[in-house]
């Protein structure tokens, strides 16, 4: 089982297979703690990250919101939230375009969990922050620029 899942991630197969993975993760919660998506977190550019997540061309959507400050005084602690009114959201991810690795965090939402997640992230510099949401087997995205006056790395 585990090997199969890894192969699927490596070959970056279609969204249908990934949704199967998500379902597997829900059925076996223990598995969710054993399968960090290294490819996605190691990817440097936005395009590579989206590819590693299996979301090659997400559509912009008004039903996805990124919340956060317009200006962050301290890039080490930037509160960012993602919410969506789309039905059947199974995955939410936060991406920061100009960070060394674009992907900051991703969340798998089982049925019943609302598409509304808040956390705090580090930002090296002023950048667009993307919220990626998976609804059904389609990906949607929203953007917000957050200006950083003091970098989060090395400070």
């Amino acid at each position: 089982m585990n090997n199969q899942r890894r192969n699927v991630l490596k070959t970056g197969s279609g969204a249908a297979l990934l949704s199967v993975l998500a379902v597997a993760g829900i059925i076996k919660p223990g598995m969710a703690l054993a399968d960090w998506n290294k490819a996605a977190f190691d990817a440097k550019s936005m395009a590579d990250t989206l590819k590693a997540l299996g979301a090659a061309a997400p559509a912009d959507s008004k039903d996805v919101q990124v919340t956060g400050p317009d200006i962050a005084e301290n890039g080490a602690v930037v509160p960012v939230g993602v919410s969506s009114t789309l039905p059947g959201v199974t995955m939410v991810a936060i991406l920061i375009e100009k960070n060394p690795n674009a992907l900051a965090a991703s969340f798998t939402l089982p049925e019943g969990t609302e598409a509304n997640v808040q956390t705090r992230v580090k930002m090296g510099q002023t950048s667009n922050v993307y919220a990626l949401v998976k609804s059904g087997d389609k990906f949607f995205m929203a953007t917000k620029e957050i200006k950083v006056t003091l970098g989060g790395c090395g400070g």
Partner: protein, 104 residues
Amino acid sequence: MATNPMKIRASNKDGVTEVKVLISHEMETGQRKDAAGAIVPAWFITELSAKHNDKLVLAGEFGTAVSKNPYLAFKFKGGAKGDKIAVSWKDNRGETRSDEAAIA
């Protein structure tokens, strides 16, 4: 190294439970250098899961860009006062920690 307990607050309102978690963790990116110029090795939480009475309500994967002492808030339908919320994480050194709280 011993880890500090997480702070977990969960409250139920109109059938929706909001969970807030504050985790105590360094979240070192692996990009910083110490005074001698040596790179401080990365040390961060990679995976996290939250359960409501043994039912998974959130699974998360973190990268190094999540802030030190990560904060996380989410909501799920259901839950009642006194129900158990359990959150556990694992970091890239293989350390794990689980903590529990009751819905208030």
